[in-house]
């Protein structure tokens, strides 16, 4: 009787451990997906989304134009840290941020469109 209780306890502990491991993995996958998503900036309906993006040093940020209109991605500093070609619908531009700082940018065709990348 005592042995069966002990075995049942072990089984329960094992199952609980497995469950916790599974939850941990799910959390890890979700975290990785979230990290992956935040490195992409969508251009849609004349806006950059997200308008402000915080990333660690060394991150490559990709802008993708989901608008019907051509757009550009140009940093506001002089000389320009980054400057894309004109991006037509579904075209992408990537830049790797190797230094910390705040990098405001805009669309040179539609200057009201602004955004910034905060590199920490």
């Amino acid at each position: 009787m005592r042995r069966s209780v002990f075995t049942a306890g072990l089984r329960a502990a094992f199952l609980l451990g497995l469950g916790a491991l599974g939850a941990g993995q799910t959390g890890f996958v979700a975290s990785a997906q979230q990290k992956l998503e935040t490195t992409e900036v969508k251009i849609d309906n004349f806006t950059f989304g997200p308008a402000a993006l915080t990333v660690p040093v060394g991150t490559t940020v990709t802008w993708i134009n989901k608008d019907d209109i051509p757009h550009t991605v140009v940093s506001t500093d002089d000389p320009k840290t980054f400057k894309s070609r004109v991006l037509d619908t579904d075209e992408k531009f990537s830049f790797t941020f190797s230094k910390p700082g705040t990098f405001p940018y805009f669309c040179s065709i539609h200057p009201k469109m602004t955004g910034k990348v905060i590199v920490q």
Partner: protein
């Protein structure tokens, strides 16, 4: 940015191309309207009004073309255009040729002291108005006049 820097008036936030373009469009359409009215009413005063509107429209195309091409060369670094931008460039050049061409037809008639303007100008003017309107539509689409804010 220096206020008298030539690039300041061409680059984004201060781009003059989108401002200046309204002058030739308005003057040309009104000029054509006066010309059609002059033809219909047979009035010299209306014909003169048409001529001067077309003259100023033709002159006004020069800074528009210059600012547009310089903005393309400097802001977009002269990159090969495609899609709507290319269509806008081609139709803009065609519009300029048509506006100047229509003015030239009127100017040639005035120089030769001819009483009657040739009738073929009217369909050319009508086509030119359509091309100018389409170019303006593309320009408005590009500049995002229908966008938020």
């Amino acid at each position: 940015m220096h206020p008298f820097d030539i690039k300041a008036v061409l680059f984004a936030k201060h781009a003059q191309h989108v401002v200046l373009i309204h002058f030739p469009i308005a003057l040309f359409i009104i000029g054509v309207l006066f010309d059609f009215l002059a033809q219909w009413k047979n009035q010299r005063l209306l014909a003169a009004a048409a001529y001067y509107n077309l003259l100023v429209a033709a002159i006004a195309t020069i800074p528009v073309v210059v600012t547009g091409i310089l903005a393309w060369q400097w802001e977009l670094e002269g990159q090969k255009l495609k899609g709507i931008l290319l269509m806008h460039l081609v139709m803009g050049c065609l519009s300029t040729v048509l506006i100047c061409g229509v003015w030239f037809i009127h100017a040639r008639t005035r120089r030769k002291q001819q009483e009657v303007l040739s009738g073929y100008r009217l369909p050319i003017e009508a086509v030119a108005v359509v091309i100018v309107a389409l170019t303006g539509h593309l320009g408005g689409f590009l500049s995002g006049v229908n966008g938020p804010g």
